[in-house]
C-alpha cells in the first residue's frame, strides 16, 4: 500500500516537473515573442496597482494611458511608430513593485509613465534609475521621489510639500483668517502636510492657535473640537483622510461651531458628504484638480466617459499628460532610446497638457504645480477658487 502510494506520488511528480518545464518553455517563448516585435512599437510601461484596495485607481490610470496612446497613434504615432502601453501590477506594495519594475525593464520599455502609491513608486524608481529608463510619475506625491538626486524622475502632479503653502496662502489671502487651527492624524502624509501648512501660516503672520493630532479610527472627536473651539480659530484645516474628516465636520456643526472647515486632498472623497450629510456643506478642500474642473481637460473627460462608460477618476488625467509629455519628448529627441528621452524630458518647458502647461524643474517636479480649492455645495464638490500666475485668488467657473 505504501509502495503503491509512493509509486503514484513519483509518477505525479514526474508529470508535474514535465508540466513545469513545458510552462517554462512557453513562458520563454512568450517572453521572446514581444521582444522580437520591439522594433515595431515604442513601449511605455505603466506600473500601477491593479489588484488590492487601490485597484480601481490603477485601472483608471491605465485607461488614461491607453487613451493618450490612442490619440497619438491615430495622429500617426511617434517617429513613424505606434505607442504601446505595457501595464504592470505593483499591488501598491514595495516588494511587488520591484518585480513589476524588473518585468517592465525586461519587456523592453523605453520610458515609464505611471505610479500610484508613493511607497511602491520609490523602489520602482530605483530599479528604473539603474536601468537608465525615465519615469514620469502621474499620481505619487511624496516629496522624497524627486529628492533622491536621480535625473530620470519627472512628475506631472504636485508634491505634498507644495500643498501646505498653497493652503496657507488660501487661509491668509482668500479667507483673511487671523487665527487658524491645524489638525492632523499622525500619519506621515497628514503630519507632513500639517507641518508645511503651519510653517507657511506662521511665515505669513497667521496665528496658529492649535496644531495637534487626533487618533484616527475613533468615532467621537467632539472633545477635541470643544477644546479647539475655545481657542476661537477662524478656520480649522484638517490634513487627514475623508472618513475622520466627515465625522469632524459633522461633530463640529453639532457643537454649533460656525468657523470655516477645510480639508487637505485626502478628504476629497464622496464618503465625506455621505458621513456628514448637510453638515459638509461649505467645507473647502485643497486638492489637485479633478479633470472635470480643468477647462483644458473637458475633451479628455468626454473621451474617457465615451470609451469606458464612467468618469475618469482623480488621477487618470495626470497619466494622460504623463504619456503625452513622454511621447513629446521622444519626438523632440528624434530617438526612442531611454537616455535620449530623459534628456528631452528635461528640456520640456511648456507642453500644453490637459492639466495645464507642463514643464519640469531641475529636480523633475512640475515647475508650476496645480492646486485648486473645491467646496461642498448641496452634497457635491464644486470648483471654488484658484490662484492666478501672480498668486491672486479668483473664483473658478
Amino acid at each position: 500500500m505504501i509502495a503503491q502510494k509512493n509509486g503514484s506520488l513519483g509518477a505525479s511528480r514526474v508529470l508535474r516537473q514535465t508540466t513545469i518545464a513545458a510552462i517554462a518553455a512557453l513562458a520563454v517563448l512568450a517572453g521572446v515573442a514581444p521582444g522580437s516585435a520591439q522594433s515595431q512599437t515604442i513601449k511605455i510601461g505603466v506600473p500601477v496597482p491593479l489588484s488590492g484596495s487601490s485597484a480601481n485607481a490603477g485601472t483608471d490610470i491605465v485607461n488614461g494611458a491607453k487613451l493618450a496612446a490612442a490619440r497619438i497613434n491615430t495622429a500617426g504615432g511617434v517617429l513613424g511608430k505606434q505607442i504601446e502601453i505595457v501595464p504592470e501590477d505593483d499591488a501598491c506594495d514595495a516588494q511587488t513593485a520591484v518585480q513589476a519594475a524588473q518585468k517592465l525593464v525586461d519587456a523592453g520599455v523605453v520610458a515609464v509613465a505611471g505610479g500610484y502609491c508613493s511607497s511602491a513608486a520609490l523602489p520602482e524608481l530605483t530599479t528604473f534609475h539603474r536601468a537608465g529608463i525615465p519615469y514620469v510619475l502621474d499620481a505619487s506625491t511624496n516629496p522624497k521621489l524627486t529628492e533622491m538626486g536621480y535625473d530620470n524622475v519627472f512628475r506631472t502632479i504636485g508634491r505634498d510639500d507644495e500643498q501646505g503653502p498653497f493652503a496657507a496662502s488660501f487661509i491668509k489671502n482668500s479667507l483673511h483668517a487671523k487665527r487658524a487651527a491645524v489638525i492632523n492624524d499622525n500619519t506621515t502624509y497628514s503630519k507632513g502636510l500639517a507641518d508645511n501648512t503651519v510653517e507657511a501660516l506662521k511665515k505669513g503672520g497667521v496665528d496658529v492657535v492649535y496644531d495637534d493630532a487626533i487618533t484616527p479610527g475613533q468615532m467621537d472627536y467632539s472633545p477635541t473640537l470643544t477644546h479647539v473651539a475655545a481657542l476661537k480659530p477662524d478656520v480649522i484645516y484638517y490634513t487627514g483622510y475623508f472618513s475622520e474628516a466627515g465625522l469632524l465636520v459633522k461633530e463640529a456643526r453639532q457643537l454649533g461651531l460656525k468657523m470655516t472647515f477645510m480639508g487637505g486632498d485626502a478628504t476629497n472623497d464622496p464618503t465625506l458628504m455621505k458621513t456628514a450629510g448637510p453638515a459638509a456643506n461649505d467645507m473647502i478642500i485643497t486638492t489637485a484638480p479633478l479633470a472635470q474642473f480643468l477647462s483644458a481637460a473637458h475633451g479628455y473627460v468626454d473621451d474617457y466617459t465615451k470609451a469606458y462608460g464612467q468618469g475618469p477618476g482623480p488621477y487618470s488625467v495626470y497619466e494622460y499628460d504623463a504619456v503625452g509629455v513622454t511621447a513629446k519628448a521622444i519626438a523632440d529627441a528624434k530617438s526612442a532610446t531611454p537616455a535620449a528621452i530623459t534628456a528631452a524630458l528635461h528640456k520640456i518647458s511648456n507642453y500644453p497638457g490637459a492639466t495645464g502647461t507642463i514643464g519640469f524643474n531641475p529636480k523633475g517636479d512640475r515647475s508650476v504645480a496645480v492646486y485648486i480649492t473645491i467646496i461642498v455645495r448641496d452634497g457635491n464638490f464644486a470648483p471654488y477658487q484658484k490662484q492666478d500666475a501672480n498668486g491672486h485668488w479668483m473664483a473658478m467657473k
Binding site: 487618533t215 475613533q218 467632539s222
Partner: protein, 299 residues
C-alpha cells in the same frame, strides 16, 4: 466651566457605547470565564445588519419610527442568534478544554467575523441615512443634542433592565448561581447549556443595540469598527471588575469620561495611551477592578 460640562456630556455619550459593549464581555466572562474577543465584532455586525435593514426599509418608504423599531429588533435578533451560533460552533466544544484554546478560538471568530463582513459589504465605509436631528439644547453654553440624550437614556435604561433581570428574576438568579459554581448549579437542576446560550444571546443583542445606535449617531460604519471599540470596552469591563455587571456599566462610563477629558484637556493623540494605561494600571494594582471585591459572587 461650560467646557467642563461639555466634556462630561461628550464622555457620557462615548461611555454609553463602551458600557453596552462591556456588558457583553463581562456577562460571558462571569459565566464561562471566557474573554470573548469576538464581542467587539458582534457590535460591528449589529451595525451592519442595522444598516441593511434601515436602507431597505427607507427604500420601501416605511415610516421612520416604525423602520427604526423594526431595524433595532431585527438587528438584536439576528446578532443575538449569531452570538448563539458562535457559542454552539466555536465555544461549546471547548468548554472543558484548557482556557487558552477557547481564548484563541475567540480571536479566530473575531477574524472570521471581520473578514466575513469585509467580503459581504466591501472594505469601504457604509453610511447610515441621516435620520437623527442635530437640534438640541443650549444650557448655559453647553450643547446637548436630543440624539445624545436619547443615547444616554437608552443605554442607562438597558443597563438597569439587565441589572434587574439578573438580580430580581428567577432566570437571573440561576445565571448568578452558574457564575458562582457551574457544577453545583447543574446539581440544583439548572440547565447550564441553555443559560450559557441565553447569556450569549443577551450580550450579543446588547452589542447590536450599541452598533445600531453608533450607526445612527455617527452614520459611518466599516468592517473594522469593532476592533478599537471592542478593546476599549474590554478595558472598561476590566476597570469595573470583569464579571461584574454594575462594574461594566461604571467602567464604560469612566472610560468614556477619561477619553473626553484626555482629548479635551490634553490631546486626542494620547487617547489610546490613557485608556490602555488604565488597563495596565488596573491589572497591576487591583486586578479585581473597582467592583470586583467579591470574587466568590460574580455578576
Amino acid at each position: 466651566m461650560s467646557t467642563f460640562f461639555q466634556f462630561v456630556i461628550e464622555g457620557l455619550t462615548i461611555g454609553s457605547f463602551y458600557a453596552l459593549v462591556a456588558l457583553g464581555y463581562t456577562m460571558v466572562y462571569g459565566i464561562i470565564r471566557l474573554i470573548n474577543f469576538a464581542h467587539g465584532d458582534l457590535f460591528m455586525v449589529g451595525a451592519f445588519i442595522g444598516w441593511t435593514g434601515l436602507t431597505a426599509l427607507a427604500a420601501a418608504h416605511v415610516p421612520l419610527a416604525l423602520a427604526l423599531l423594526i431595524t433595532l429588533v431585527a438587528s438584536m435578533a439576528v446578532t443575538g442568534a449569531l452570538g448563539l451560533a458562535i457559542e454552539r460552533v466555536a465555544y461549546q466544544p471547548l468548554l472543558r478544554a484548557p482556557r487558552l484554546s477557547i481564548l484563541i478560538t475567540a480571536l479566530g471568530v473575531s477574524l472570521a467575523l471581520e473578514n466575513g463582513v469585509l467580503l459581504l459589504y466591501g472594505a469601504g465605509f457604509n453610511t447610515y441615512p441621516h435620520v437623527l436631528s442635530h437640534t438640541g439644547l443650549d444650557v448655559h453654553g453647553v450643547q446637548i443634542t436630543f440624539a445624545q440624550i436619547g443615547i444616554i437614556v437608552a443605554s442607562f435604561a438597558l443597563m438597569l433592565a439587565l441589572y434587574f433581570f439578573v438580580h430580581r428574576t428567577f432566570v437571573g438568579t440561576a445565571m448568578r448561581a452558574l457564575a458562582i459554581d457551574q457544577d453545583a448549579a447543574r446539581l440544583m437542576g439548572i440547565d447550564v447549556e441553555r443559560l450559557i446560550q441565553l447569556t450569549f444571546f443577551l450580550g450579543s443583542a446588547l452589542a447590536a443595540v450599541a452598533g445600531v445606535m453608533e450607526g445612527l449617531y455617527y452614520t459611518q460604519i466599516n468592517f473594522f469598527m469593532g476592533f478599537v471599540l471592542g478593546l476599549r470596552a474590554f478595558t472598561a469591563a476590566v476597570l469595573g471588575g470583569i464579571g461584574n455587571i454594575p462594574g461594566a456599566m461604571a467602567g464604560g462610563i469612566l472610560i468614556g469620561l477619561l477619553e473626553a477629558f484626555g482629548a479635551g484637556y490634553v490631546s486626542s493623540r494620547w487617547t489610546d495611551v490613557f485608556v490602555f494605561g488604565v488597563l495596565i494600571g488596573v491589572l497591576v494594582i487591583k486586578p479585581t477592578g473597582l467592583f470586583g471585591e467579591r470574587v466568590v459572587e460574580r455578576m
